[in-house]
Symmetry: D2
Subunit: 317 residues, 4 copies
């Protein structure tokens, strides 16, 4: 049975930062997210087009890095079926209560140790009058502040063993491999997988430092490539560090900009136009070393820090 | 069991025209499609981002209107399961051979009599050297000619009984209702349904003339709203008739332009930014008469011909 | 001697409003202007790309309407030469001190009674640290708030006698007529004139009510047409009244959106791409009644209020 | 007396190429220009928004490089006055007949030896039926082919002595210096000058090879930055060599893409949004070495070939 679409979508991500206030300022003033409550050391933030209560859970911590990455199952049945697979894999941790707005969550880790949560029960976001959108088919009023990103788009994990991690998501969650980098020695240096009709939702890139559990970046979607050019203008204006871009990836044809939030985590702004993966028999597109040597789509060479900068794995806090 | 995603996507549509040569010129010079073979009275055309061999089958006929609308099933098993449901509904016609590039197709009709085909076997398009794209994750070279639409987006059928037709697609194919117009008397005047993460793939709008089997329009996706403004510029320049737009629909928030191809069929150019329907528990958004009376999103009143112009049902040729 | 370019540009406009606070909120939150001081009943506002201290002088008043429209001369010599012409015309009022940031100003009226000011001495805007731009060739940091209009673009006056007013600007200030509406009876119903390489800076449109001294609208420039689509999205979201648009004028090919600020004055957001008038022997483009009857560029009919709504002439306050 | 605006605009440029047919294919299929006649070894090409008959004169030659750069004077009087200044400078060559569509032209050279022509008499382009635009205020129908550039924007000359060349244009033609690169030793490595309200029309950049008379690039204007992203997509698709970009210059804030036409000449696609230089007392913006070391606006380092690749001076053919 095809497992694709058993996971409805990437739901929200927990990001750790040693400078919570500065990070909140970045997410609200630069990206245009809205604060939607807090709990303990964590602040919850929302992108205007996300229908749930949380897009980012920003948690104060000694280091930067990714915390729990949450996925929403397509149905209660799909949730139970996925949990059975995960338990069978021996990587299950167990059920925990959700944060505000979503229910019981099954926690597990990928082979690299990145933590995931899987749930189905979710309360839709109910905007206050101030955040009420003019059109009822929209979750929240468009903020018109900073980049005003539409929604969380994807997450890119650094991994010691790309294939092991990628196959784990494929086998337990039904992720579909859409594109990958296959080196001359046959090893896979990067793998893009999707749960939806988007080109990708979760990516693993080889961690050249051999460290397990690091984050490469999380990404937010904009409506146009011009929005990303404006994101670069605004980054310059607001003193946000631009690592590379704007330019177009050959892989997935994503137009991108990479910046660092004040906590040190890499953030991508991305747009791939109206591109979707609709073919049910899509075969992975393999990119060779020779092809990668040509640089990005229009020739930009990959910046060195792209291969080295990652934010740390979870450590006991 | 949720049926969503049993149909992979809207695959291609047969459009009838009394002026084949002029219609081909419109599809190639204005929309930027590519001719990909012909058969009998039909010419096959492709949009550059569609991975299969046919986007539009343009068939010479005494009248305009829609012929067979083809959907691709998500798997051989899904195909068989859907055919069983259709047969049980009593609306099945039977298996026929596919055109170039796709295999055996099960033919059936909706309650209004619009003809559908459902298949799984499909050969991916293999571009000639001239049409070979620079990036291997793309089906065909970008034409840079006319509007250069990316892909077929959706079809909008006129229907005598919107609910009967819509429910038929829901019950046999797993279409999800995302938005609808509910009149003060409780009747549904329009219904938007999806098979994918797009906001909609197939729409039924009430035919005020009471005629069964007519077409309201087919639509092509562009990457940006600016592409649609350019489409209006080019329409003016090439003498293509603009019916209404560009403007933004409140429903689905689609930015639109409606033009007529020389055979008289209405064609939409559409873009909804990066908007997707990802929630597995999406509830239909109901639009009331009062809300519709406000016009489109920014206030444009719906043009009268939008309620009257449709292209005819299939008649014995 | 050709007079074109004796006037450097339209500098700033005084707008009257009975609801100053609400109007300030509109100009700052919706348009993205910045408050830059106040004086008496007036608040000074700036667009980020204007190099002088004032873009709009917003003045509390019993009614809406336009106050003084200020132009900057191209040189001290040009100022003196223009003042001599104005004095000779008998429409001069005399010298007054400028507001903050610009010097002695010669006041005069056009035949309709709209008040103008002409000056040369001007202090460039010096941003505070908070408003300091990242790039030194820019006047002020990009606000990334609301529409974030770039600069004042043009003013459109209603006039009883279009030709008399237009010729007055041509003869005394060197305005060049670029386009006009010539009715079947030979009369001119609208005239677009420029002082620069832009298609137009000052427009006169016939006031069908026969009232002298009214304002049709003032306009702000954006970088793209998509910015104007976003301006419509944001207007809807913020409850700003949209009168008509977005659409494209046939005249000057300007992409437009018309909204009303809370005081009742009509505001246009406009963009004409990279279009410039560079020909030194440009001849006025005449638009006939038959051509106007086709509607705007893509067919939108001109909204009735466009012919009736204007904001009142100056009355003794 | 201020000389600015004595020159109406950069009119057209002669480009030499050893591969005329391939270069014509580039200008027509990639850039979207239209062939408008030929004479001897030269082919005349037009951009759709240029009102004169020639945008580019493409001349077969043993080498690449720039031929004569033609400017249109603002009036017959301005032409005579400029010629008197040029003659007085000792760099005048004399009067020659114009090519098709423009009249007697005074030829001269800048200190580096680049050849210029100055004329006033010009016949406006009269489109054939096929090229007739839908809107009468436009020179030619929008081609909707390739990049479809709007008009010639500027020329960038390599020069041995930037200041000598720049001052020559300033003193004889009234060019205004808007921005410049001033090295730590006080010398000027690049200077941007304008004849219009555009940020620049003619640029001199220091030739590090010490060769006189070379061309750095010519540039074409597009309406949006997205048009330039599409230009990069189409370059990749059509096999056009991309040297660098798309990115944003800090200087003049121009969004750019640099490609080479088949003859080897560098071509820029450029857009600066709605930015204009309107201040009559504009002071040159000086960029220091330290500022230049930061790279372009968003951090892209200047590519090495940008400092070395130029196309050769005129040699006896």
């Amino acid at each position: 049975m095809p497992l694709l679409h058993q996971i409805a979508h990437l739901a929200h991500v927990e990001i750790r930062t040693p400078v919570v206030d500065q990070s909140v300022a970045f997410f609200t003033n630069y990206l245009g997210l809205t604060v939607n409550g807090e709990s303990g050391d964590s602040v919850f933030l929302r992108a205007w087009d996300d229908y749930e209560n949380i897009t980012i859970k920003l948690t104060g911590h000694a280091t930067s890095g990714v915390g729990r990455t949450c996925l929403r199952a397509a149905s209660p049945e799909a949730l139970q079926a996925r949990v059975r697979e995960i338990e069978a894999s021996g990587r299950g941790v167990g059920w925990v209560a959700g944060d505000q707005g979503y229910g019981d969550t099954y926690v597990f880790t990928d082979p690299d140790g990145h933590e995931f949560g899987l749930y189905y029960d979710s309360e839709w976001f109910r905007p206050t009058d101030e955040l009420k959108p003019a059109l009822k088919n929209q979750a929240q009023a468009y903020p018109a502040r900073g980049v005003s990103v539409r929604r969380l788009d994807h997450i890119n994990f650094l991994g010691v063993d790309v294939v092991a991690n990628r196959d784990y998501l494929r086998d337990t969650l039904g992720a579909l491999v859409t594109e990958q980098i296959v080196l001359d020695d046959g090893s896979v240096a990067g793998s893009w997988t999707t749960f939806t009709n988007k080109g990708y939702d979760a990516v693993y890139t080889r961690d050249r430092t051999g460290t397990a559990g690091r984050l490469h970046h999380i990404a937010f979607a904009t409506d146009t490539r011009e929005d990303i050019l404006k994101a670069a203008d605004i980054a310059l204006e607001q003193g946000v560090f631009i690592e590379t871009g704007p330019h177009k990836h050959a892989i997935q044809q994503t137009f991108f900009l990479y910046v660092y939030e004040p906590g040190g985590n890499r953030i991508e702004l991305c747009n791939a136009g109206a591109r979707l993966v609709l073919a049910p028999d899509w075969q992975p597109v393999d990119w060779t070393e020779a092809e990668r040597a040509k640089g990005q789509a229009w020739g930009l060479q990959t910046i060195e820090s792209f291969h080295t900068h990652g934010t740390p794995p979870v450590t006991p806090s």
